[in-house]
């Protein structure tokens, strides 16, 4: 399970790509080029990259509104992500779906819905299909700590446990659900403690450490793949931005953001890479340039893309 230098660099690349892509989306949003909303996972990049990087090609993920970065290690084409936000016909939903509710089934990425966490049962069902068909595949479902209060979360975990399904439930506890602090959403400190209600392992990890996240998810994914059933993993972090583009996070307790800025997952990982894997400035710059070019290309593609033809509005409701 020890990760090679290349794999470390890979993860580093996705961390930087995720952050830069979100920053660019924020710029586009502020320029008024995004008709809808943006939901940013800044500060949570380690959760996304560490978890998604633990999967194999045939596996599937079910991200929510904030989890776009988890798609990147799955090979999601960022042109599609930008085009979706700009409501262009070249987006994966052809301009029909909003924001981060996008995906690509060929890469094992579900196009989820806004109702939280409705794709928890769906992910369990995908895992059911894998089990029935004798496939060695795993499903990974994302949501925030707030969404764990909803009934579908409970039904999904219980169903998966009873049926010993190959699914990993990954909860990003970023301390807030919209404006609601975690302690007003649940009375216990750790989401992971909910696992015992279903008879599955529950693990809490440092959500700002990509390696710790990766290792925990990898262990759970391996268990799932071996037929040992589901796990619940909670990654603790802080949502470093407001809930959505328009929310200035005025309700953050003073000092909290600064405190977590010091734990910035990318800075931390960079130190590790410099100390242990000989990352140097030149390499870093190279990666950053590559990412900027890629994002520039995606934005250019999306901006040049046409909006959908209004006559397409009634197409594709049915197969």
């Amino acid at each position: 399970m020890a990760l090679s230098r290349e794999q470390h660099f890979d993860m580093y690349y996705y961390l930087l790509l995720g952050r830069a892509l979100e920053e660019r989306l924020e710029t586009l949003y502020k320029q008024g080029k995004i008709p809808g909303a943006i939901y940013q996972g800044r500060g949570q990049e380690a959760c996304y990259v560490g978890s998604a990087y633990a999967l194999e090609p045939g596996d599937v993920i079910a991200p929510t509104h904030r989890d776009m970065i988890a798609m990147l290690p799955r090979g999601m084409d960022i042109k599609l992500i930008v085009a979706q936000h700009l409501a262009k016909v070249t987006g994966p939903t052809k301009g029909r779906g909003e924001d981060n509710y996008l995906g690509d089934l060929s890469r094992g990425i579900f196009t989820t819905v806004s109702m939280l966490p409705d794709f928890y049962p769906v992910a369990a069902g995908a895992a059911l299909a894998f089990k029935i068909q004798g496939e060695s595949r795993v499903a990974l479902a994302y949501c925030g700590e707030g969404a764990t209060s909803r009934g579908d979360w409970h039904e999904a975990l219980n169903f998966a446990a009873v049926k010993t399904l190959p699914v990993v439930f990954f909860v990003i506890n970023n301390q807030f659900a919209f404006s609601t602090p975690a302690e007003k959403g649940m009375k216990i400190g750790n989401v992971a403690n909910r696992a015992s209600a279903y008879g599955m392992p529950g693990i809490t990890v440092d959500g700002n450490d990509p390696i710790e996240v990766f290792e925990a998810v990898k262990r759970s994914v391996d268990l799932a793949r071996e037929g040992q059933g589901p796990s619940l993993i909670e990654a603790k972090t802080l949502r470093m931005k407001g809930h959505a583009g328009h929310d200035r996070f005025t309700y953050a307790p003073s000092g909290l953001i600064e405190q977590w800025e010091e734990k910035d997952p990318i800075n931390r990982f960079e130190i590790l890479l410099r100390d242990e894997w000989q990352l140097n400035d030149e390499e870093k710059q190279q990666i950053e340039i590559e990412i900027q070019m890629k994002i520039d290309g995606a934005v250019a593609f999306a901006e040049a893309s046409p909006l959908p033809d209004p006559n397409e509005v009634t197409k594709d409701v049915y197969h």
Partner: protein
Amino acid sequence: MSITEQEAAKGLTFQNEESTYLQAISQGLGEAMREDETVIQIGEDIGEFGGAFKVTKGLIDEFGEERVIDTPLSESGFIGAAVGAALMGLRPVVEVQYADFLSCGWDQIVNVAAKIHYRTGDPVPMVIRAPSGAGLRAGPFHSQSPEGWFAHVPGLKVVAPATPFDAKGLLRSAIEDPNPVIFFEHKYLYRRLKERLPREKYKIDIGRASVRRDGTDVSVITYGAMLYKALEAAKQLNTNGISVEVVDIRTINPLDKAAIIASVKKTGKVVIVTEDHYSFGVSAELAATINEGAFEYLDGPIERIAPPDTPIPYSPPLEDAYLPQVEEITTGITKLVAY
């Protein structure tokens, strides 16, 4: 000529034994599972026990626990799971114990299952079987006919067969359909009807109505268990010299507008009979559709006969008063004929 004979004329041969509506569905499930190993069953108590109404009885013996999946009591969870399995290439057939409990999985049906294809183009081939309808003295929580709600959800298909032949034929189509289909089985009919079914595989297209009785004076548009009340009314009125055409729409969404409009154009008068309650439901859409498609042919107002806007009461006199009865239909038709 009954529909069965019509279809027989198309080259089907018939089983010696008669099958009930319930058996027709059981057969359809079994045959679909035999033909296509991606078909699975999901629901509460559907395995060893055979389901609340015993529709899935025996399937687990033939196909095993892997394909006949008992679930915990969690409609939202297992309907969502069916969506996931469908996205991964299986064809899940979900059973809820009563159509009333569909409400517990409503969000998964209307926001998840129904809204995937429009955005992604991915098929979501799944069927939700829901025993619906009143008449069994089962009260407000075991008698609902919620098809009106589901018909108002783009992305879903809604089917409501009235005969064993149709039940099996529509079920086969529903299972092969690449879209989510809500399949309403009228539980009052489960054991009350019998007919000989084809030996061969057959399907009834979703979206095709059936004229159950030809007539010239008035069209009755109906479906489900109300079909039999309508046919009885037509029979009674025939002796009075009133010729009633009875159209069974069979599928509610998509609606066979052409067949409905054709009948109304012929007769000029129309009575709609539904078990779905009066306001904002299936009868309203039928009326609006007819008004749009046959306005110039209408020789009288479109008459709706449907239960009142109340929960479905338990006590026999109340339930009988709630449900449209033959007399109400004959009165409605007679009044309209005299218009």
